[in-house]
C-alpha cells in the first residue's frame, strides 16, 4: 500500500514546474488584489485535487492491471488512494503555511493577515477539496475517468437546476429566509462542521469505491 502512495507522490513530484507557475501566478494576482488568501490556498487546493489526476494517469498508462498483479487486495488498493489524499492534506497544509510565512516575512513584512480566520479558511478550503475527492473517487471507480466527468457534470447540472427552481419558488412566494444564524454558525464552527462532513463523506465514499472496484475488470 505504501508503494502505491509513493507511486502517486512521485507522479505529483513530476509536476513541480506546474506548481511553481501556479504559485507565482496566484502570488502576482494576490499582490495586485492586496489579498493573500488566493496565494495561500491555490497550491494546496491544487495538490488536493491532484488525487483525481492520479486516476487519470493510471488510466492513461494502464497501470491499474499492473497494480492488480501486486500482492495486495483490492480493498487495500482503494485505501491507498484515500490515504494518499490524507497525505496530500498534511502536505498541502504545510505548504499553505509556508506560503503564508513567505508572504508575511519576505514579500510583505508586517502583513498582519495571519490570523485564525486566515488559517480557518485555508483548512476549510482544503477540507472542501477533500470532499470533492470523496465525491469523485467512487464515481471514477464505477465509470472510469472519462465517463465520470460526464456523470459529475450531470449531477452538478441537476443540483443547479434544483437550486434554480427553489430560488424561483422563494422569489415568487416572497419568502424571507434569515441566514444570519447560519453565517454565524459557519464563522464560529465552520471548520468543525466541514471536518465532520468531510469525515462522513470520506467514509461513505471509501465503502462505495470498494464496492465498485471489487467488480471491476482492467
Amino acid at each position: 500500500m505504501k508503494a502505491l502512495i509513493i507511486k502517486d507522490l512521485l507522479f505529483i513530484k513530476g509536476s513541480w514546474k506546474n506548481l511553481l507557475v501556479l504559485f507565482i501566478g496566484s502570488l502576482l494576482i494576490s499582490v495586485a488584489l492586496g489579498n493573500y488568501l488566493l496565494a495561500m490556498v491555490c497550491v494546496p487546493v491544487w495538490l488536493l485535487a491532484s488525487g483525481i489526476n492520479t486516476f487519470q494517469t493510471d488510466e492513461f498508462y494502464n497501470t491499474e492491471s499492473y497494480t492488480l498483479s501486486f500482492p495486495l487486495t483490492r480493498k487495500k488498493i482503494v485505501l491507498s488512494k484515500y490515504l494518499f489524499s490524507l497525505v496530500m492534506l498534511v502536505i498541502a497544509t504545510w505548504i499553505g503555511l509556508i506560503i503564508y510565512a513567505i508572504v508575511a516575512l519576505i514579500i510583505r513584512p508586517g502583513f498582519n493577515g495571519l490570523n485564525t480566520d486566515m488559517i480557518k479558511y485555508l483548512i476549510m478550503l482544503e477540507l472542501a477539496s477533500l470532499i470533492v475527492d470523496a465525491v469523485f473517487y467512487p464515481v471514477i471507480y464505477k465509470f472510469g475517468c472519462e465517463k465520470s466527468r460526464l456523470v459529475l457534470m450531470s449531477i452538478i447540472m441537476l443540483l443547479l437546476g434544483i437550486a434554480a427552481i427553489i430560488s424561483a419558488y422563494i422569489n415568487t412566494h416572497d419568502i424571507k429566509i434569515d441566514l444570519t444564524n447560519f453565517v454565524n454558525f459557519i464563522q464560529d464552527n465552520g471548520v468543525f462542521a466541514v471536518a465532520g462532513i468531510t469525515i462522513v463523506t470520506l467514509i461513505i465514499s471509501y465503502f462505495l469505491s470498494v464496492k465498485f472496484y471489487k467488480k471491476k475488470d482492467y
Binding site: K7, N62, E64, Y66, D217
Partner: protein, 279 residues
C-alpha cells in the same frame, strides 16, 4: 504445480472464456498461443486478478488463491504499464515498498548489465530498453513464476534473443516457471516446454512442444490430388488459390501422402490451420 487453473469461466458481451483448465508446472516454460482476441490476455488477467472470474478455481503454488501469493509472481504486459515520467530509480523506490523480497542490488545489477539508464525518464528510452526495464522489474523480487504477455513484441532479433536467454536461465533451477503469451511462435519453438493453444475462449490443446512437433504434419497438395487424401485422416484443411494445406496426425500418415510433405510443420502452421481451416 506453480499455477493450476480449473474450469475457469469469464463472460463478456461478445466473448467468453469457456471452462479453461491449464497447469503451469515447476521448471517449465509454457507458451500460450492463439489469434488476437482468442482469450490469452483475459486468461492472464484472470490469473493475476486484474479481471474478476465468473467461476472456476485458480490455485497459486498449490494453495487457494491469495493475493499475497502474488509476491512470488513477476509480470510483464504487452503495453508499457509504467508511468513514463518515472525513471528506473523511481521504479525501484516504488517496487521495494511493494515486494517483500525486492532486491535493489539485483535490480541495479540488471540495469547495469542491460545498459538501462537510471536517471533517464522512461519516455526517453527506446522500445527495447523499456521492455528490458519491465522484464528486469519483473525479475528483481526473486519470483517463482513469470507471467509474460507479449514480452518480445517490438524487439529487434538481437534483444529478443537476449531476452529469451534470460527466460531460459530463469527456469534452470527446475522450481521456477514461465507462462509466456506470444504471437511470435518462433520464440516458443526455441524455449517452450509446453504449448497451450487457445482459440475463441477455448483450449484447443495443452501439450508438450515436442509431442506437438511429433504429432502433426502438414501436407501441401494441389487441387487435383486433394481427393487422394482420406477425409478421416484430415484434422483441418485450408483451400488456397492453387493448392490445399492439410493438417494430419503423423500416426495417420500413409505412404502415398509422403510426396506432399514440403516443410517441417511449425506452430504457426498448426495455429493457422486450426483457426482458418475447415474440418
Amino acid at each position: 504445480m506453480n499455477i493450476e487453473v480449473k474450469n475457469l469461466n469469464k463472460k463478456f458481451d461478445e466473448f467468453a472464456l469457456k471452462d479453461v483448465s491449464i497447469d503451469i508446472p515447476k521448471g517449465k516454460i509454457v507458451g500460450l498461443i492463439g489469434e488476437n482476441g482468442a482469450g490469452k490476455t483475459t486468461l492472464i488477467k484472470c490469473i493475476l486478478g486484474a479481471m474478476v472470474k465468473d467461476s472456476g478455481t485458480i490455485k497459486l503454488f498449490g494453495k487457494d488463491y491469495d493475493n499475497l501469493a502474488k509476491d512470488d509472481i513477476g509480470v510483464v504486459y504487452d503495453d508499457s504499464f509504467m508511468i513514463e515520467t518515472f525513471t528506473s530509480k523511481d521504479i525501484n523506490m516504488v517496487l521495494k515498498n511493494m515486494y517483500k523480497k525486492w532486491d535493489s542490488k539485483l535490480y541495479f545489477k540488471y540495469l547495469k548489465e542491460y545498459k538501462i539508464p537510471t536517471k533517464k525518464e522512461i519516455r526517453k528510452l527506446s522500445t527495447g530498453m523499456k521492455k528490458k526495464l519491465e522484464i528486469v522489474a519483473a525479475l528483481s523480487h526473486h519470483p517463482k513464476v513469470l507471467i509474460l504477455d507479449e514480452p518480445t513484441s517490438g524487439l529487434d532479433p538481437v534483444i529478443r534473443s537476449e531476452v529469451l536467454d534470460i527466460f531460459k536461465n530463469f527456469v534452470d533451477n527446475n522450481e521456477n516457471s514461465i507462462l509466456l503469451s506470444t504471437h511470435i511462435t518462433s520464440d516458443l519453438e526455441h524455449i517452450a516446454d509446453n504449448v497451450i493453444f487457445i482459440s475463441n475462449g477455448e483450449i484447443i490443446f495443452d501439450r508438450p512442444l515436442k509431442e506437438i512437433k511429433d504429432d502433426y504434419i502438414e501436407l501441401d497438395i494441389d487441387k487435383n490430388n486433394f481427393k487422394d487424401i482420406n477425409k478421416k485422416d484430415i484434422i483441418r484443411y485450408k483451400e488456397n488459390r492453387l493448392d490445399y494445406q492439410v493438417l494430419v496426425h503423423k500416426k495417420n500418415m500413409k505412404k502415398e501422402y509422403e510426396k506432399y510433405i514440403t516443410h517441417l510443420t511449425t506452430l504457426d502452421d498448426i495455429m493457422l490451420l486450426y483457426i482458418k481451416g475447415e474440418k
